[in-house]
Assembly symmetry: C2
Homo-oligomer: 431 residues x 2
Amino acid sequence: MDFCDRVNDKSAVVGVIGLGYVGIPLAIAIAHAGLRVLGFDIDAARVEQMNSGVSPIKHVASSTIANLRDCGFEATQDFSRASECDALIICVPTPLNEYREPDLSFVVSTMDNIAPYIRKGQLISLESTTWPGTSKEVLLPYLKATGLTVGEELFLVYSPEREDPGNKKFDTRSIPKVVGGHTPACLSAGVALYGAFVDHVVPVSSTDAAEMVKLLENIHRAINIGLVNETKILADRMGLDIFEIIDAAKTKPFGFTAYYPGPGIGGHCIPIDPFYLTWKARQFGLHTRFIELAGEINASMPQYVVEKTIKALNDAGKSLKGAKILALGIAYKRDVDDMRESPSVFVMERLRSWGADVSYSDPNVPVFPKMREHHFDLASINLTPEAIAAFDAVLLLTDHSSFDYEMIKRNARILVDTRGKFRGDAGVVRA
Amino acid sequence: MDFCDRVNDKSAVVGVIGLGYVGIPLAIAIAHAGLRVLGFDIDAARVEQMNSGVSPIKHVASSTIANLRDCGFEATQDFSRASECDALIICVPTPLNEYREPDLSFVVSTMDNIAPYIRKGQLISLESTTWPGTSKEVLLPYLKATGLTVGEELFLVYSPEREDPGNKKFDTRSIPKVVGGHTPACLSAGVALYGAFVDHVVPVSSTDAAEMVKLLENIHRAINIGLVNETKILADRMGLDIFEIIDAAKTKPFGFTAYYPGPGIGGHCIPIDPFYLTWKARQFGLHTRFIELAGEINASMPQYVVEKTIKALNDAGKSLKGAKILALGIAYKRDVDDMRESPSVFVMERLRSWGADVSYSDPNVPVFPKMREHHFDLASINLTPEAIAAFDAVLLLTDHSSFDYEMIKRNARILVDTRGKFRGDAGVVRA
């Protein structure tokens, strides 16, 4: 029985490699469509959590994870079990190294782990965001090394993840899925696989094209956020509130899409993905000037927020050194607990380097987590009127819904707003 | 009776100054709402056309103009009649001078023309796109010079035009209208006026804010088009078709809006308006780097198209010098007859400067019009198979709906496509 038949009669087993923000919702969607899912992760604790029905992600309920087991889901660290799978979907991180270059080490080590177990009839799909050419240049050699014929005995596809944690309107099933295949047969197999658990599959002409699609999506966002961040500074200098301007502009029913400024950009996509294209472009002798500009402007936002704070303190006759500063919201965006690349942390580090006494409050992050590059020995403080009034300045960095904004405004001595929550309020510092 | 009462009982007379792409649809919307409109223009021919029921604009029917007269509309060159008007709405061009700086001369001469006739109770509204501060810095002094009190005896508002010629989904009435007033009373008067003939009025806090709103809308578009133009070049170098990438990316139901590349940017807004902010920003010691970058990249597109043509001819052993080249579509966008800032013209000029023998075909532009900075003594050629086959290369620059694309493809010896009309066709040169 061939691959597509096994998908169609739901006898196919799908291996999801990397049980994180992408892999977990994906495993859920596949399992709910009636296919058996085997979850792979190198992290023993993560495997244990998944197998005992504990959700590692705030926006996925533990009951959903527990329910997965009833659908036949199993998590494992044992990559030899890749041979049990008809399809292997790779959802591992693709970060940047310290030189802002692509770090494909997780993809490569995944391929190293599964390589001995690749067998005839399997489909390998990469979902991690990466530069155009990755599937062909990095994955294909592993498939070829098996001696099997890609496009006949093995199938290679690239299908970019489009997860949006916390999005209440769209989920893995309802977000259209772009798929590119190494050959037409690969594409057919990929369309069959994803069509089994996604409402709308969008085939494109190659894995390169599919890789580029995802980058363009995130580059578009990085550039649009960069533009409003740059415009924010000018608007502020002119005495205008950029949030008012954007909200009025978005009443235009065509030709304009609202993006909002903030203290920087965070999350695993927008600050990172665009530079995958920048790196690849160099091979073609080209520069990605919009990406570089957006990167520079977005990365300068934490410093802008700190400068606004320094100025506000200065106007009150105080230095930042020794000042007690409260950072409100340290997750990278509203109502999530995800700290990856959070601009709040960059703001906090700068404040600390200037000698400020920094605290934070975030209902979603009770204790400052272990991070590879940041260390704060802090726990979220409880937001009472007295607590707030005890700070020299309060910085709204992530506008969680659960904050009591009225109470915060009433009690903050200096309130620096990076999210436009206190519009038109003359007593609030726009940053 | 005060201004708002006269608007409400429809006894107010509205003067529309500048009978062009903005003023004419505006006059129609006001007249259709039951207010009498007096149209002002310095161009005798334009006034005569309007009064004799001839439309000067392709997408406005002459019957609509003829019908205007029945609604009490009259066009005049006599600016002393401004005193008859309760409201004066200024819709004159705001171009750039040759140093890419704002040229407010039309606004200033309009104010000079009406200044002697400004009277108590009038509202003055500027709709022309301009830098934040224009109403306050340029118009207000004229109002103050009357000795009347602005905000009590005279009202000053800024309300940016959002005309989109050829848009079949939205018109002047259904496109929300942003209004900023010099004082709260000015804003109220402006909201009353525009509320009389626009479905949804969006008040903002100041004329400066309203001016900035319009700029942000057009800057957003200029930057997004710049980004896809830059990405187009890289995609092409990688062997990818940017149109396929964009169409796949736009299947993402959030966080992405499709903009398409082309041979440059045209029309009276996108290539010009952003630089109004660039100029004003200098006064605040700031640079608008996104605008500069988009401007540079978008302005380089005609040259890119010409280089692609040179390469294609070269591959056929020909030079551009002496080659017969056909430009398809010279209006600045699909299905309009508007030639303002059309990138096609920039392409044609470059081709000619390299010694090519340039012709064009555009169903909407039968004869190459008189333009301030461009001169071609040409008429649109008739598109027959023989005519097309007689050219060394055919360049699709503006993708009018009425072109017979199949026939063009069958007969063109070299076909250069800047609009993605011939996707996936290996014989077509992507540019």
